[in-house]
Amino acid sequence: MVNRNIRPDHKAILGLVKSGSYVLDLGCGEGDLLSLLVKEKAVKGQGIEIDEQAIYKCVAKGLNVFHGDIDTGLSEYKDKAFDYVILNQSLQQLRHVNTVLSDALRVGKKVIVGFPNFAYYKARLQIFFLGKTPMTGSLPYQWYETPNLHFLSIADFINYCRKNKLNIEQAKFVGNKFRILFSPNLFAQVGIFLISK
């Protein structure tokens, strides 16, 4: 039974995770995705989150969470300790993308990455016609208050995987409400990748 109100990116990730698996959610926020995975896929879940108020929300949902920084929180885990490591909407906010991704690929058998697509056509139009830093559904921040450090497109991430010899096992492209099947780098707001080493 899948709830209609589930965020489209969460819905996409739900489809990538096998039931009963062991999941680490990096930057789990208030734990919506993790508790969804616990409910729908009976995963054994662990979250890491930096925001104290979000931790309280996670605890209220009955989740196991660690209050801390993703950039330093992974090195202590053993190799292949998790079936999946999830970096949903957190990759673009990391200081050390390379280190965290390679650590995630070490401690997880598979890694799920979800990020806002900077090359979404509406973002392109805003830059081209208005000459302004774009604001879209998946990039809702003004330039002076954005938590994002990196602005990448779906094409960028595919290139990154190719360059670092990472296998893209599955990719899902999410629009406002629907999955995007055609020219995702132009039409998708969010890219979700299942990758492995």
């Binding site: 104290e52 108020q53 931790i55 605890v59 209220a60 660690f66 801390g68």
Partner: protein, 385 residues
Amino acid sequence: MNKRKIENSGSVGVVEEKRFSFDDFTLESGEKLNSVIIVYETYGLLNNDKSNAILILHALSGDAHAAGTHQGEDNLGWWDSMIGPGKAFDTNKYFIICSNVLGGCKGSTGPSSINPKTNKPYALDFPLITIEDIVNAQKKLIDHLGIEKLLTVVGGSMGGMQALSWLVRYPERIHSAIPIATAIKHSPQQIAFNEVGRQAIMADPHWKEGNYYGGPHPVKGLAVARMIGHITYMSDTSMAEKFGRQKKSDAQPFKFTADFEVEGYLRYRGDSFVKRFDANSYLYITKAMDNFDASEGKPLQDVLEGVKAKVLVIAFKSDWLYPAYQSKEIAKACKLSGLEATYCEVNSTYGHDAFLLEVEEETHLILHFLKKVTSEYEVTKGHGK
């Protein structure tokens, strides 16, 4: 967090001290105590299958009186804000136990108790005790109460050490543990502060190698030890907020009277402490804390391998006596051993004292954690039948 009102929370009311005694207690050192008394209090009701019991573990200067008041007195238990109907440790649901530690001076056997061999107080004839001895005595009490498995063991500071010791020693006897503002073992800095406190006591001419019972007690030394303690329990910010550089009054009869509010406070704290605490107990208990190493030299994660209990670790940002990194080490060991664990560092300015003061945050974390532990416990229990 949201300043949510804690509704329907009340007091456990008037409570009574209880006593449990047993003979021939062998300590970790191999030494024996012929008879031991452990004083304890309980709040709430033990259910029929004895599955709702929680053991509260007190810190260095605490005692069995954790909640409510004693008949004819008005001082509340040391964790009254957390224990009672509708509170974090809800006495409508749970059966709460708190006992005075072995080596203490609030009813349980310690250096000020009468040595049956000499009919005089033990003083320094009392054997050195460890945190494990304290926990072993608690286990005797839990056995005596017929409780097979505790819902949780919880405490701050030295109480957290006991919680860790339960987790390592008797994991099959607990469903969960909540170590708060504590450490796997003391750092040199923590040992150093304790040593200064001990030296202050032993430098007092009234201490007399511990044989002061019947005469004047080493109150000056013990008061200084307590003053040092209080400095380490607060933070720079909390002291500044509480005292500033406020002077007590303008005219001073003597050059070195307590001019500043903070001096007056420390003196008051020291003076009131000596009325309720025994100097030798202070020596024995601080030594037990310094010698404690939850995993006895091994990495904690190795010792926790295969343990099924759930763990909630709580630390406080401004706590510099038990800095958050020490709690993080506990959480990290749980992580590595595959234990289900949660770690939260509460943004508090109260320093180490925060574990007694940040009631709202602790209530939220503990309330939900216990709810989860209880629900999963009932599921497993159901399967077993």
